[in-house]
Amino acid sequence: MTGRYRRLVAGMVTIAALGVGCGRQPDTSLHPDPPNIRYAPLRHPFHDATLYVDTNTATTRWQKAHGADWLDPITSRPQARWINSPRDLAGVPRMVTRAKDRGELPVFVAYYIPNRGCTDFKQGAPDAAAYDAYLRDLVDALGAVSSVIVLEPDAATADCYNAGRGKLLARAVKALTSAGHSVYLDAGHSRWRSPGEIATRLLQSGIADAEGFAVNVANRQTTTDSYRWGLELSDLVGDRDFIIDTSRNGSGPPPDDPGRDDEWCNPRRQALGAPPQITHRPHLAALLWIKAPGESDGKCGGEHTYLFSPTQASNLIAAARWLPQAERAAARSAS
């Protein structure tokens, strides 16, 4: 009977198995890990803000000294104040007081990272401690006025970027944001490094705590290209906002000359880019003039100074197609 019993059981099992059916459904359940990067909430400093017009720039001083009204297109528009060393901190308190009185938003550029420009520590802060001191002083100088700070152009993008610099920048971001300011880390421009590479560096440099990043600082890539690049990068760093420097990109980048490697320096063809404005495009906080228009790129391209050069300014104004013809003509005739 055992054989029969076995067949009985087998038969019932088979019938049951046929009824149950076969096939399995894929497991699509998601259990997202807690994010290992906590992004600080965005403050949107440019929302409903007016940009502060700096009346104490090199351009304004030259204009006053030479009575050059043709420089008005530049001097009447907001631009950022660069703080290239602790000496530059002196004028900050008066600026922020004036900005606060007028209810406007000042934009500063901190440009004092150790080994700035990869010049073997000849430029920038001598060491991290000095840089920390500089930051502390900057915070003190800014006081209670919430400002926008562009942090260290060319610092994260430099060839000599390393983990130490990243940590330093992260500390700087923390120090500034905890004091109530909005920090935009410089991210380079669209024709230099890939968004992925910059994103990795920015993440190491504390972008999670910052408001966002700055694109095209002191460069001339078109706004469209910079916006595209910035969008890509924004997605990789937690959808941070970004600002684009449109001070000198009205004519786009100078054509690439394989024979020279300094065609970027004071090119003949350059123009003022879009005027500083708050924008409402996705992730683009504002278009700003971060690099002072008219300031020379260096001792090249026919210039012998790092400071304001009227030739550069007149080139910029004359070629800016969005300016009225009269202003352009005035600049043209002035040079």
């Binding site: 009985l8 019932m12 019938i15 009824g19």
Partner: protein, 627 residues
């Protein structure tokens, strides 16, 4: 009674279905998963319906048979499960073709009818035990018009399915052709399967003969060869045997005269038996039975009876070997090898046809007939060397026809069972005897020794070959319909018997159809797997042809005949037409059987084999003498 069963069946079926649905809803409501609930419901409703049917619907069959309920239960589960699976599988095929509703209702109705039939005829019936009266023969069962209609309906249904589901049809047909091709190869290769089977000394060395016997030689209008055959038969190397030509004296005075002349020449060797006068049908079995009766009357002592055809030339030492094998193996039948010798016709051997350009036509006919002659010769070569042995080992044994020797004990057993040793109604008596031997449990020994084969000739013309085949195939059909194979003890033997009996048909049709199957697969854009499956039987067919070529070479070497390139070509190119011819013969035989024409179609002999080389005998008739 029938109406009660039907109404109860439907009632119970409906009731159980409703219960099952309620159970399913209850289970799902209780939180059991849908799949599991369905499974539980199916199992429980099956058991419920079994119990209900067992006690109510089929009470008539199951009354007082409680002990065998387990068998009924098992059959019921299998049948219902199979029908459920078939419906499940069939629905996705049918629904796109005929629409969902017709498919559903069609399957439901078919399923219900099928379930009813399986219940009625299988699950809840019990076969009568073996010791009861014998079941009516298959022939009478087949003759019933209901069965015939059912068969025709089944064939039509299969054809309809084949047209609709071409791929499935191709797969089934390819598998069947594969089975046939593999069987063909097995038949062909069995002898050479193990090296020991091919050892020259495998039959042993015959010692002194001890058994007396008789050789029966039915003859009809065999004036050309009778004398020579009897002469040779009378001079074989055995001390104690008789030769009995069986001749119908009134019909056949010429052969009778030759036979009596030989009887006079060899008085204690040759004894002429007369074909009985009181029958109007002429066939071999009647003559053989008459000869056996004559043996009884004359009181000749015999232990074995051999059958020879009128043109057979036995080897001198054949009887010693047969004698030895009878004693050594205890077999009831010893089948010796028969070999056709002329695989290519020499024009000089054929008669000049009447009409214009006789010599050219004779030359053409000789050269164009090589293909089927060679195939015929190889057929015998394979049949007697290899296939018969395999069949003997499997104990399903259609026999070869002549040069077969029966032990007296076996013939007596036949006599006891059927009233006569040979069945006088059958067209090919030899086929049935083989099956009966398996039924009764007598083994068959197949002896094929190259030197000792009985040499025969291929028929003169292709038409003659076809007629010969028609006769044989009709004989197979008759053996099938007579149903002796049903008496074989084991089920697999019965299946094997049907397969072997029908194999000639299967093989011919399968090989003919193989290229069409492949063309259909390719043309219909079946899945590649189906097309590949369809090529396998063709590939095996090529292998068979390759082996045939090698066998022709071996044949030529063994029998010292020269095999020319055109003979090889004939075998290679003629393989397919030969099977076409066999299919034609098979169809013709089927038609003849269905129309009830069973008379004996005789093939003519012209003695062509007598002049074949390698022939060990002093007296050779010249062709003119033979003609």
């Amino acid at each position: 009674m029938r109406k009660r069963e039907v109404s109860l069946f439907l009632l119970i079926g409906g009731g159980v279905a409703v219960l099952g649905h309620a159970l399913l809803a209850m289970l799902i409501g209780a939180g059991v998963g849908a799949d599991l609930a369905n499974a539980i419901q199916i199992v429980l409703t099956l058991q419920l319906s079994f119990l209900a049917h067992d006690f109510l619907t089929w009470r008539r069959h199951t009354f007082d048979r409680a002990a065998r309920r387990y068998g009924r239960w098992w059959r019921f589960q299998t049948a219902r499960g199979a029908s459920a699976v078939l419906s499940l599988v069939g629905f996705p095929f049918l629904a796109p073709v005929v629409g969902i509703a017709p498919a559903y209702w069609g399957l439901l109705i078919t399923g219900t009818v099928a379930n009813f039939c399986t219940d009625r005829f299988w699950s809840f019936t019990h076969h009568k035990s073996r010791t009861s009266m014998p079941t009516p023969p298959v022939a009478s069962r087949l003759a019933r018009p209901a069965t015939r209609a059912a068969l025709v309906g089944a064939v039509l249904a299969m054809l309809a399915l084949a047209v609709v589901f071409v791929d499935a049809f191709l797969v089934v047909v390819s598998l069947f052709m594969l089975l046939v091709a593999v069987t063909t190869l097995a038949f062909q290769l069995y002898k050479w399967w193990r090296p020991e089977n091919n050892d020259p000394g495998r039959y042993g060395d015959p010692d002194a003969p001890q058994l007396p016997g008789v050789i029966l030689v039915p003859m009809r209008h065999e004036e050309a060869v009778a004398g020579h055959t009897l002469e040779r038969l009378a001079n074989l190397d055995h001390p104690d045997y008789w030769v009995m030509p069986i001749i119908d004296h009134p019909d056949d005075p010429g052969t009778a005269a030759i036979a009596h002349a030989k009887a006079a020449e060899y008085p204690d060797r040759v004894l002429v038996a007369a074909y009985p006068e009181d029958t109007d049908v002429h066939n071999k079995p009647i003559g053989l039975n008459a000869a056996v009766r004559l043996l009884e009357e004359t009181g000749i002592d015999y232990e074995w009876i051999g059958i020879a055809d009128a043109e057979d030339l036995f080897h001198a030492g054949l009887l010693r070997m047969v004698d030895y094998r009878f004693r050594h193996t205890g077999a009831g039948i010893v089948q010796c090898g028969v070999q056709l010798m002329n695989f290519s016709a020499h024009p000089a051997q054929l008669p000049l046809p009447a009409g214009r350009l006789p010599r050219l036509r004779r030359w053409l006919r000789a050269n164009a007939s090589g293909w089927w002659r060679a195939a015929n010769v190889l057929e015998y070569y394979k049949w007697f060397q290899s296939r018969l042995k395999l069949q003997a080992a499997a104990k399903v044994m259609p026999l070869g026809g002549n040069t077969v020797f029966f032990r007296r004990r076996f013939l007596d057993a036949l006599h006891m069972r059927y009233g006569a040793s040979w069945d006088e109604d059958c067209l090919t008596e030899d086929c049935k005897i083989g099956i009966v031997a398996s039924v009764l449990g007598y083994s068959v020994d197949v002896v094929y020794i190259d030197e000792m084969v009985t040499r025969e000739e291929t028929p003169d013309t292709l038409g003659g070959l076809v007629r010969q085949r028609v006769r044989w195939m009709q004989g197979f059909i008759q053996v099938f319909t007579q149903g002796e194979w049903l008496e074989l003890p084991r089920p697999w033997q019965k299946v094997l018997a049907v397969y072997v009996l029908g194999f000639q048909f299967f093989q011919a049709f399968a090989i003919v159809f193989a290229p069409f199957a492949l063309a259909l697969a390719v043309g219909h854009k079946s899945p590649v797997a189906v097309a590949l499956l369809a090529t396998i039987p063709l590939g095996l067919g090529l292998l068979t042809t390759a082996l045939d070529l090698q066998m022709l070479h071996q044949f030529g070497r063994t029998f010292e005949q020269k095999v020319r390139l055109r003979d090889y070509l004939g075998v290679a190119l003629g393989a397919y037409p030969y099977q076409v011819m066999l299919s034609v013969a098979g169809l013709w035989a089927l038609l003849r059987h269905l129309r009830g024409r069973n008379n004996w179609v005789k093939t003519t002999h012209s003695g062509a084999h007598l002049t074949a080389p390698g022939h060990v005998d002093a007296r050779v008739l010249a062709p003119s003498e033979a003609a």
